[in-house]
């Protein structure tokens, strides 16, 4: 199990989502991707996409207006 971090701070929609999609493709099952974002609409669409794909998703508010979306690839 590997852990990857994707720095999307300062990036607006839909860049965090596209970056997360691309990164997830290169990862193996049970790897974990942590997407760092500070754009509130990415906090909605990144988890929404990942859940639709069936992955395990957790959101952590790490600071004012700053989140980490933690995605575990399940398939």
């Amino acid at each position: 199990m590997k852990e990857y971090r994707l720095d999307c701070l300062g990036e607006a929609c839909p860049i965090p989502l596209i970056k997360a999609e691309k990164k997830m493709e290169t990862m193996a099952v049970s790897d974990v991707l942590i997407v760092m974002i500070d754009h509130s609409c990415a906090m909605k669409n990144v988890p929404e996409w990942a859940r639709k794909q069936g992955h395990n998703v957790d959101i952590e508010e790490v600071g004012d207006g700053e989140w980490e979306v933690i995605i575990e690839k399940v398939k």
Binding site: L9, G10, E11, P14, I15, I18, K19, K22, D38, H39, S40, K44, G63, D64, G65, E66
Partner: protein, 182 residues
Amino acid sequence: MKQFFLRISENEIYQRLFKNPFTYVGGAVMLAMLNTLTLAFTGNGWGVTGAFGYWGAWTLKLVGIDVSTWASFASESAQKTLAGGFLADGVSVRNLGIILGALLATLLASQFKFKKIKSVRQVVAAVIGGLLMGYGARLAGGCNVGALFSATASLSVSGWVFAACLLVGGYIGSKLLVKFFM
């Protein structure tokens, strides 16, 4: 004091009203109700970018450039708005309210943040995009609020034409975005 704010931050009503984003349906219903009120009280649907033309005109006037003779300000109502100034123009004041309201909302959610600029490329794209959107909105006679949302709500065909063109522009824009930013 800290204890008090910690308790508020965990309060369910606070979270639903101020912290978590509204659902799409919830937002849509509120927009529809507010636009109905706007139409009923002002006689016009909600619009945003029309006022930006006046903001530009007033700014240019400050540095000594008079644009009141331009064709785009030729109508009687445009002349009146130009002469009346910022505070007499309801649309301008409402736009200011939207900006202040957005600030208030982000502060209430404790999500205010100065975001760092990632690259020169981001700045260039933002400036070009902003200019294109502003110019396009003036040519189209409105933006996605006035020319789309308010127009379709008033059963105007122009709103649907705008929507079709918006989709084409959005498609091209997303291709450019992937090309230059990924």
